[in-house]
């Protein structure tokens, strides 16, 4: 390496070190996480949310330990039995234990919701960071695409895709990711655009650090807070969507118990009137679980949003 280049590198190195970095934003997951965490847990409403969330998640996760029956075991001798000590939440039309179905169904429903939210976040963040950083034609194409996806009413495009690719849990996740990345992409993009011209990013670029590294090591940490909020809120949204689709009989195939599939039984007025245990408990569980995620998401936003921090 010629002398001059080496000197130039050294100078740039010094410049990079001298340029004051913006104070690490306190997003609750990075170094100074304690303050945000404490703030999060000090709100009683958020605590209620965390409580419900933990209880439901653990109950579903350990369904194989606590569920009294096999969720798919058919018992034609006890059909449509109301709740009793034997079957705490009664049995359905083919004698399957409703409580066990709710617990095992929760596994699938939560997995679909969380998986789709994380998938959409990864896709949206990557596109937002890279396209936002590069700018130019790539950025405008992705931006238009996101507008297009956000213009479709979601359930219409989801049903359209379901009718093309067929029903399965995995297909549902793929469809949710494909249709749900727009909002987080826009968020990641706007963060990238606002930071792209900051001096510490310029310095890194001058040092020849690869754009990919700059995007994920320098820009991404600034967006972690909003991303976490977005993941929680879209988990709630996807769980609601899965339950609607399965309720309509167009989501996960009927053999797999999910919260929506259990509710599918309520498509019958007689069941609605005479067999409340088939739909009321599972509906209440969905509502409570989604509520808990929304509460956590709100608490997370309050505790991570730098604008609200004193």
């Amino acid at each position: 390496m010629p002398q001059s280049t080496r000197r130039a590198t050294k100078i740039m190195d010094k410049v990079a070190r001298a340029v004051p970095r913006p104070a690490e934003p306190d997003f609750g997951i990075t170094k100074n996480s304690h303050r945000a965490m404490r703030k999060l847990l000090r709100q009683p409403v958020t605590l209620v949310g965390v409580g419900i969330f933990v209880i439901v998640t653990l109950a579903c996760l350990f369904a194989f330990l606590i569920a009294p029956y096999d969720p798919t075991a058919i018992d034609m001798t006890s059909v449509l039995k109301p709740p009793s000590l034997e079957h705490l939440l009664g049995t359905d039309r083919t004698g399957r234990d409703v409580l066990s179905r709710i617990l095992f169904g929760g596994q699938v429903s939560i997995a679909i919701g969380l998986g789709s939210a994380v998938g959409a976040a990864i896709l949206g963040t990557t596109l937002g960071l890279l396209a936002g950083y590069r700018g130019g034609w790539l950025d405008s194409i992705v931006l238009r695409a996101s507008e297009l996806f956000m213009a479709f009413p979601q359930i219409i495009v989801v049903l359209l895709l379901v009718s093309i690719v067929g029903q399965s849990a995995l297909n549902l996740v793929i469809i949710f990711v494909a249709t749900g990345w727009g909002s987080i992409y826009r968020m990641a993009r706007s963060v990238t655009l606002s930071i792209r011209e900051e001096e510490f990013v310029m310095a890194q670029r001058a040092l020849g650090i690869r754009p990919l590294v700059i995007c994920f090591k320098e820009i991404l940490p600034n967006a972690i807070g909003p991303i976490a909020v977005n993941i929680t809120l879209s988990t709630a949204m996807f769980i609601l969507q899965e339950s609607s689709l399965s309720f309509l009989g167009l989501g996960v195939p009927m053999e797999t118990p999910t919260w929506g599939n259990i509710l599918n039984a309520a498509n019958d007025l007689r069941v609605l009137r005479d067999a409340w245990w088939l739909w009321l408990p599972v509906g209440a569980v969905i509502a409570a679980f989604v509520l808990s995620i929304n509460l956590i998401g709100d608490g997370l936003r309050d505790s991570t949003d730098p604008n609200l921090q004193g």
Partner: protein, 320 residues
Amino acid sequence: MLAYIIRKTLQIVPMLLVLSLLVYIGLDLMPGDAVSYLIGPDAMASIDPAKLDEIRARLGLNDPFIVRYWHWLLGVVQGDFGYSLTSGVPVSEILWRRLPATVELSIAALVISTVLGSVLGIISALRQGSPLDSGLTVAGMIGLSIPEFFFGLMLIVVFSLGLGWFPVGGRTSLGSGSLWTQLHQLALPAFALGIAMTAGVMRYARGAMLDAASRPFMTTARAKGAPMWRVNIVHGFRVALTPMVVLIGFRLPTLISGSVVIEQIFQWPGIGSEFLAAVRGHDYPLIMIIALLSTGAMLAASLIIDLVTAVIDPRVRLEK
């Protein structure tokens, strides 16, 4: 203002074109073509392939993709949407039959959620920190978290099956029943559809009102001796209105999505239940056209929202 309207309208055209292209590609990719629907499979086997080719050429099916797309697009613009695969009826006829029910339901839900949401939100903001405020906030969170269809089911169980106040579902078409019957049938589905939006509007109205309350012009209004209700409604609510108009626009997709499920539960004969039937029966022309039109409707709505915002807040239209 005119320039603003024209610019905004022109921005939508390319998006609609791309959408229609996607929809046409979808239609084009599905198995079979018009000829295979005209001629049964038995007859197809006995027909001379050259003859088939001739029919295809006459119908324009052998034209290059872009030519076929152009003809299809011209048809769509003129209201010719093709035919339903399951019933053989023109798609436009189905849509015209189904549209009034959906429009009626959507407008009712929009009115309910806007009025109820803003009133509750304003009350909540004016009584900030009171038990009423906390109660409404919690109720709003629950309203946002409860699946719409589950709320609809509970309404049916309580008010139709239990108390017998409302019918379980269905709709008499305009003109064939008294206004009372119609409102009676509309009440439950409209309320079920409006619940999530009501909660959303309420949260937003509360925030916007609180935001407005802290501005200096509110102090000015109070200082000049205007009565409190006048200060809150005329000065405060007016400023809070802009974000709320925008919010109603953002809620339209929720409305369209929600109506698909709600129409199913209440046996409401609208576009949503038709769409579900089409998805179940793999009636692709119907599916695609409904997707195209609902998206077009949303783009049009967002255009209107943009224009209304520009009227309310002059800064918007003067921006570059």
